[in-house]
C-alpha cells in the first residue's frame, strides 16, 4: 500500500516496468549528474570528470533514463553523446600506448563502458606485442582450465 505522492528509491528495472505515459503511476526524478548543473560541467570539459565515481555506468544508465518521457531528454542525450566523444580519443590513445605499465590511475576515472573499451585496446596491444616477440605460435593452457584448477570443488562424496 503506497501513499500517493510519496517519494521512493527503486531500482531502474522496476521504474521501467511501472512507468506508463498514459497512466501516470510514477514520475522519475533525474539523478543529479544528468541535471542541468552537471550537464554544464560536462560540456565545459568532460575529460576531467571522474565518471567512475559519478556512475559507474554513466552512459548505460543515462541511456536508460531516456525511457521516462522527461522534457529534458534531448539535452540529456546530447550531453551523454558529447561527453563520450570528447573522452574517447584519450582513452583510445592511452590503451594503445600503455604497454606493461600500471594503468590503474588512468582507469580509475573511467566508467564501465570506457573501461571495457580500454581493456579491448590493451588486449589488441598485448596480442600484437606477443606476435612481434614470436610468441604467437606458442600453445598455451586454456584460461578456463586455469580457473578450474584454482577453485576448490565441493566434495563429491557428500
Amino acid at each position: 500500500s503506497f501513499v500517493q505522492g510519496s517519494k521512493l528509491e527503486i531500482p531502474l528495472w522496476l521504474a521501467k516496468g511501472l512507468h506508463d505515459s498514459k497512466r501516470r503511476i510514477i514520475s522519475v526524478e533525474l539523478p543529479k549528474i544528468y541535471k542541468e548543473a552537471w550537464r554544464t560541467v560536462f560540456s565545459a570539459d568532460a575529460s576531467v570528470v571522474d565518471l567512475h565515481k559519478m556512475g559507474p555506468y554513466y552512459y548505460g544508465f543515462g541511456s536508460q533514463l531516456l525511457n521516462f518521457d522527461n522534457p529534458e531528454n534531448p539535452e540529456i542525450a546530447q550531453t551523454i553523446l558529447q561527453t563520450f566523444i570528447s573522452r574517447f580519443r584519450r582513452i583510445m590513445d592511452s590503451s594503445q600506448n600503455a604497454y606493461n605499465e600500471d594503468t590503474s590511475a588512468l582507469v580509475a576515472r573511467m566508467d564501465e563502458l570506457e573501461r571495457a573499451l580500454f581493456r579491448a585496446g590493451q588486449k589488441g596491444l598485448n596480442d600484437f606485442q606477443c606476435w612481434e616477440k614470436g610468441q604467437a605460435s606458442q600453445i598455451t593452457v586454456s584460461s578456463l582450465v586455469q580457473n578450474y584448477g584454482k577453485r576448490k570443488f565441493t566434495d563429491m562424496d557428500d
Binding site: G17, L18, S137, Q138, I139, S142, S143, L144, V145, M156
Partner: protein
C-alpha cells in the same frame, strides 16, 4: 455514500493495477536473471569443447545439469558433423592448430605426473613431472591446453 464507495472502488482498482504491475515486473526481472545465468553457463560449456576437448573431466561434468550435458553432447556432434564435411575426405579438425604452427615437432615440459603416453610409431613415453620431451605437435596440443604439458619455445 454512493459516490464515496465508488471512489473507494476506483482507488482500490488503481491499487490493484499497481500491485499486479509491480509483481509482474519482479517476475520478469527474476526470469531475466535466471536466463542470463544459464546462458553464461552455456557459453562456458561451449568454450570447453574448444579449449579442453571432447571429453570433459568428471569434476566439471558433475556440476552440470542433465540438460547441459545433453546440450554439450549435441553440440559436440554438430561440430563433428560439420568438421567432417569440410576439407575433403578426412574432414578438418578445426579445434587443432588454434595458434599458427611453426614446426612439426615441439619441445614440451611435463607439469605434473600424467603417466604413459603413446606416440604414433607405437612407442610409449612416460610423462613425469618436470620431464622434457620433443614430440609431434598434433599429439601434444590438447595436453598443453589441458595444463598437463607446457610448450617451450626455443
Amino acid at each position: 455514500r454512493g459516490s464515496s464507495s465508488r471512489s473507494e472502488a476506483k482507488s482500490g482498482r488503481a491499487d490493484l493495477i499497481f500491485l499486479i504491475r509491480f509483481r509482474h515486473c519482479c517476475l520478469l526481472r527474476n526470469q531475466r536473471c535466471v536466463l542470463a545465468y544459464l546462458y553464461d553457463r552455456l557459453l562456458r560449456i561451449r568454450a570447453l569443447r574448444w579449449e579442453y576437448g571432447s571429453v570433459l573431466p568428471n569434476t566439471i561434468q558433475f556440476h552440470m545439469s542433465a540438460e547441459e550435458v545433453e546440450w554439450f553432447n549435441r553440440y559436440k556432434k554438430s561440430l563433428a558433423t560439420y568438421m567432417r564435411s569440410v576439407g575433403g575426405e578426412e574432414g578438418l579438425d578445426l579445434t587443432q592448430d588454434i595458434k599458427p604452427p611453426k614446426s612439426l615437432y615441439i619441445e614440451v615440459r611435463c607439469l605434473r605426473d600424467y603417466g604413459e603416453f603413446e606416440i604414433d610409431d607405437g612407442t610409449t613415453i612416460l610423462l613425469k613431472k618436470n620431464s622434457q620431451h620433443f614430440l609431434p605437435r598434433w599429439k601434444c596440443e590438447q595436453l598443453i591446453r589441458q595444463g598437463v604439458l607446457e610448450h617451450i619455445l626455443s
